[in-house]
Amino acid sequence: MHFFCVGISHHTADVELRERFAGHAEVDRVLREEVGCSEALLLTTCNRVEIYAAAEESIPTGRIAHCLLTNGMELQEDDVDAFYRYEALRCVQHLFRVASGLDSMVIGETEILGQAKKAYAAAGESGAAGPFLHRLFQRAFRVAKQVRTRTGITRGAVSVGSVAVDLAEQIFGHFETRKVLLLGAGEASERTARALMKRGVRDIRVANRSRERAEALSALISGRAVSIEEWETQCREVDILISSTAATIPIVTPQNLGPLLRDRLDRPLFIIDIAVPRDVAPEVNELEGVFLYDIDSLQSIAQQSLALRREQIAIGEEIIAGHVNDFSDWFAAARERVVGDPSLRVSES
């Protein structure tokens, strides 16, 4: 029996090409009834389209690629070059890497596991997954769990918004009683405010040069519009200040913020400055109890997290290698039971 994976991903194809091979609802049926696969499973995400299949005979990559074409599309001459193909144990290893997030664009992202489970459930329901794919995917889910719990592959936020929210959590713990001031009602502020609301923030105030815009945003996020002239007074009360005005020079400086903090020494102030040019003078970070993060520092932390995750890949690969060997043993034993020939051990290819 041959088992293999054929697919394209962000490693091999741009989004334009991936769109053309998004597959369709009938792919697994076509692969089994017309192409000759005994088992087939389609895994599609925004970054990859892959077929995991088992067949008695080897099936050319071009044929699989043809099945993956979005309805109405034609296969171009060089399309197949973008496809990768993994056979036997390389296929097993690839799936384990994919499910664990090691092959993802954002290393360690967890969404892929949910998508793989969904694809597996769909193949199970349609009858496209047989004993081989059942075993392979169930093992892949186990491997993914182990890689996540035994390595730091999912550690740290890797997007600017989630870095800001995680940092706020490391400063304040819980958000229920925390007060947030949005200085400027831009889209980026709104996104960060929404992320904080999801974590439990209830009190959000919006100060903007245009009162109408402040009120409109307040209504959207169940906040409260305050006058832009009040921002200094508000700084005495708030715990988190998110600034994104269109000002061309810093409006928050040690000179105007320093005196406001004297009577709140025991309460930290977290400032997220997502404006370019910056709204907050960098020297503000030197003030006692103030933690200032601008867009560059948030991006830098996201990069640090990614670097930390990359360092964990080797540990994940070791875990995966152990499981690939186990899978190989199982497959050899299963094959022996079926054909009675112990020499038919699955080989690396």
């Binding site: 550690r155 995680d166 006692e288 993060y293 830098s300 640090q304 997290s305 540990i315």
Partner: protein, 263 residues
Amino acid sequence: MDRELLGVSTFFFFAAMVRTVVAVRARNYRPTIFNFFAITFGFVFQTVALALRGHALGRCPLTNLFEVLIFVAWSVSLIYLLIGPAYRLSLMGAFTAPLVFVLQAFALLAPIDRPHAMHSPPSPWLEMHASISLISYGAFALACIAGIMYLGQERQLKRRQINSMFYHFPPLTDLFAAITRLLWLGFVLLTVGLVTGFFTGQPLPYLKIAWSLGVWIFYAAILVARHLGMTAPRRIAALCVVAFSAALTLLWGINFLPLGHTS
């Protein structure tokens, strides 16, 4: 026998320390319950060792510097196990284990376990005074550890350089609340310890009283500064480290004084 048991106990604290160091060096620190269990086993062996020694002496085992250091180490473990569940267990344990290990290893290796001639019969007031005062050191030690954690966390946030342990630290505001509670716990225990010292019926060692009052005033000043909002949390955390280092040094000095009792 008690020294052997203390050796086993020290091994458990050493194991917790090594595990943390290895994980941090591999930049793969993840909180587990290993530290909590290692400290629990270490504490059990400490308790048995102290009980055996106390039984052999016929009094609370606080008759020389060796016993005082072991008792402080035991108090640190006790307070950690009592308040640990309120914090992120493994991480607090990661910082507690090295302190206890250093205290115990030094006590076991240094030539300080010399029998001390006790001229007076055991006095319940004296034993209560000595033991409660030393347990207060356990609380101050934990406040010091929480202070170090606070300073580490604050430094990372200020410098915007996040390491692999960062997301396992308790939030800054929680750490500051922990520091405050531990300071109060230690302060109340120290006050009780000092007051009971006046009921021992023995001649008052004035130098010891002055030093103990010095420690008491230092911690009282930190608490006043904290509650009147006179200084920033970072400075309170730093003061916890300074105060405990000073208190431990004084404890050392007190035990070298040829005075009526040894704590």
